[in-house]
């Protein structure tokens, strides 16, 4: 098994969690290097979302540790704390603040103080505005900035949520099925967007869509019944007979 090194950003070590006796995650170990982008694939119910729940503090594992940036065990922290340390997460179902404007969605996501009284007196700074403008360009929503997020299309909401992740300036981005419900063109644009942000950030993308994974062109981890089945390039794993058996062959 791989071991944690100096430039390891995320290291899941022997993580297990069971729901009512059902082992959703089973002795899962996984290493993400700093700046790496990784695609995680696997059949429905393989435990991909649960793995993200564990990394982000939503679910406590029964066993194992999640080492972040070499020294912090994330299993000892709560969601907000983990987010502040620099782990951003996009949900499987796009989740944005529907009644806020696109711009406010980004404003609230920006890295900065989260203190109750700081926020009561906070005013938008020039630097904040500049960062918002930058992000709006990146996610191609500049012309819809003052509209309510509820008015966006499904694909645009996915982008807005990715923009909100980037606004936090996280070290690690966990992206759960970003292409779900997108048109082919949108899917390819999303892959492009993620490739653009990788490098600066460590990114883990969960996705079903094989064209999308191919477009990402990164190392792939196949998850099955809560543990790693295979790891390597897409061509490498898709020729693995075990993988074909449980996932691709079906």
């Amino acid at each position: 098994m791989t071991v944690s090194t100096a430039d390891t950003m995320l290291y899941l070590n022997g993580v297990s969690v069971a729901f009512d006796g059902f082992k959703a995650i089973n002795e899962l170990s996984l290493v993400l290097e700093e700046g790496e982008m990784r695609a995680v694939v696997g059949p429905n119910g393989a435990g991909k979302t649960t793995m993200m729940d564990i990394i982000t503090g939503k679910t406590r594992p029964d066993k194992g540790e999640v080492i972040f940036a070499g020294n912090v065990d994330l299993t000892k922290h709560d969601e907000a704390g983990i987010a502040r340390m620099g782990v951003g997460r996009k949900f499987q179902k796009p989740t944005v603040f529907e009644t806020h404007t696109v711009e406010d969605n980004l404003l609230l996501s920006l890295k900065g103080s989260r203190g109750v009284f700081d926020l009561l007196f906070a005013r938008r700074t020039k630097a904040e505005q500049a960062r918002i403008d930058e992000l709006l360009d990146l996610i191609r929503l500049g012309d819809r900035r003052s509209e309510k997020a509820a008015a966006l299309s499904h694909g645009q909401k996915q982008w807005l949520e990715i923009g909100m992740l980037l606004a936090q300036d996280p070290k690690v981005l966990l992206v759960d099925e970003p292409a779900a419900g997108m048109t082919d063109a949108e899917t390819m644009q999303t892959a492009e967007l993620l490739r653009q942000v990788a490098g600066e950030h460590t990114v883990m993308v969960v996705e079903h869509d094989m064209d999308f994974v191919r477009a990402l062109g990164v190392k792939v981890t196949v998850l099955h019944e809560g543990s790693v089945l295979a790891e390597g390039s897409l061509d490498h794993v898709s020729s693995n007979p075990k993988v074909i058996d449980v996932y691709l062959g079906r």
Binding site: A80, V96, F97, T99, L107, L108, L120
Partner: protein
């Protein structure tokens, strides 16, 4: 900050409230009864009471409308503020009570108590009572919220435990040995700060104070909801876990706004008691707290002014109906609630403003059709 908080609608609301605060006392005290403009003392007392209800409704709207916290126990904070003020008014009676005991309120003499319980000390001082009016409800809300929000009690479960809280207080305050006058509560007040509570001048003054408190409470709520903190509250209401994953400790924000809201409710209770002349455990009844939520729903949730409108409409209806056929009030309240839920999901005010917007949009599109300029929509922004 103040400017951002005061959009046109808020300015109109504040202006009306301040005019009412000034005008009604004048029309009551200085316009002769024969004049058509005279406002009767009965009306002053009645509307003064409505104003305190309106402040209470605003406090509920702040947490429910903007942060999604449905408290069905806010009557408790109102009642606690009321009791704090009532305790001062009891002490101010002094030796003018039936038993003429300079230190002990009548009910304590009646119970054969020899000395003042420790928690009654200090209430002879008006400023101390005023402090308790906000601190006691605030402290209860803080402790209650601390446990509830940290254990992530939300939604219906939260509503149910707030009902349990107010019910527990109801039972406690019913007991004579609690030292709050038991079943009868606190009453027979004589005066406040030396002003006779029965006099028209004092009553007009209390009315004006209630209107000012409503304006002040409204302003505070507007400052909160228009700040960045307010945006976070709405985010929590709409997508709590998204907010957490952006690094916000949701419980802290909820605790802040819940405590603030309880303090406002306490102030409302403190203004209510001298105007109605009594505070008893009935104010803790769970049904009262549910009624407050209905006021807000009827007026329109998440609008602040809607809460005021709802509180006044529903209570005016209650006054009329209970004077007429008291038995049907609860049925009527249920009917109003169902009607509003079905036909005006955004409440009376929400429905009204949607209607106004619709008319506005129609006239706008007409003028656009006439006008040659295609940039009209942008200018309208």
């Amino acid at each position: 900050m103040i400017l951002r908080a005061l959009d046109l609608k808020s300015q109109i609301f504040l202006a009306i409230t301040l005019i009412v605060a000034a005008l009604v006392p004048v029309l009551n005290l200085y316009v002769p009864e024969s004049s058509a403009f005279h406002v009767s003392s009965f009306a002053v007392a009645l509307f003064g009471k409505y104003l305190t209800y309106a402040l209470l409704a605003i406090s509920v709207d702040l947490i429910w409308g903007f942060c999604g916290i449905l408290s069905l126990g806010h009557g408790a904070f109102f009642a606690l503020g009321g009791y704090a003020m009532g305790m001062h008014l009891m002490r101010e009676i002094g030796d003018r009570g039936v038993y003429a005991n300079p230190l002990l309120p009548d009910f304590m003499v009646f119970l054969n108590w020899k000395e003042l319980p420790w928690f009654w000390h200090g209430f002879d001082m008006f400023w101390f009572a005023c402090l308790m009016v906000v601190l006691v409800p605030g402290a209860l809300a803080f402790v209650f919220g601390w446990f509830a929000f940290r254990s992530r009690v939300t939604g219906v479960y939260f509503s149910i435990i707030t009902q349990a809280m107010t019910y527990a207080l109801l039972l406690a305050f019913f007991r004579n040995d609690m030292g709050f006058g038991g079943n009868n509560g606190l009453t027979d007040f004589k005066d406040v700060l030396g002003y006779d509570l029965q006099s028209d001048t004092t009553r007009a003054g209390l009315f004006a104070l209630s209107a000012l408190a409503l304006a002040g409470g409204f302003l505070i709520c507007r400052l909160v909801v228009t700040s960045r903190l307010g945006k976070v509250l709405v985010s929590i209401r709409d997508a709590e876990s998204r907010t957490r994953f952006l690094g916000y400790r949701v419980e802290g924000y909820k605790l802040f706004v819940f405590t603030l809201s309880a303090m406002l409710a306490g102030v409302a209770g403190a203004l209510y008691v001298p105007q109605v002349g009594i505070i008893n455990p009935g104010e803790f009844s769970p049904a009262n707290s549910i009624e407050i939520v209905i006021w807000v729903a009827v007026g329109g949730r998440g609008l602040l002014v809607g809460a005021v409108v709802g509180a006044i409409i529903v209570n005016a209806a209650k006054t009329l109906l209970t004077g007429w056929v008291p038995e049907i009030w609860l049925f009527a309240l249920g009917a109003i609630f169902i009607f509003v839920t079905l036909f005006l999901p955004k409440g009376v005010l929400g429905g009204l403003s949607a209607f106004v917007d619709l008319i506005g949009a129609k006239t706008k599109s007409k003028s656009e059709a006439k006008g040659p300029s295609s940039t009209a929509p942008q200018l309208a922004e």
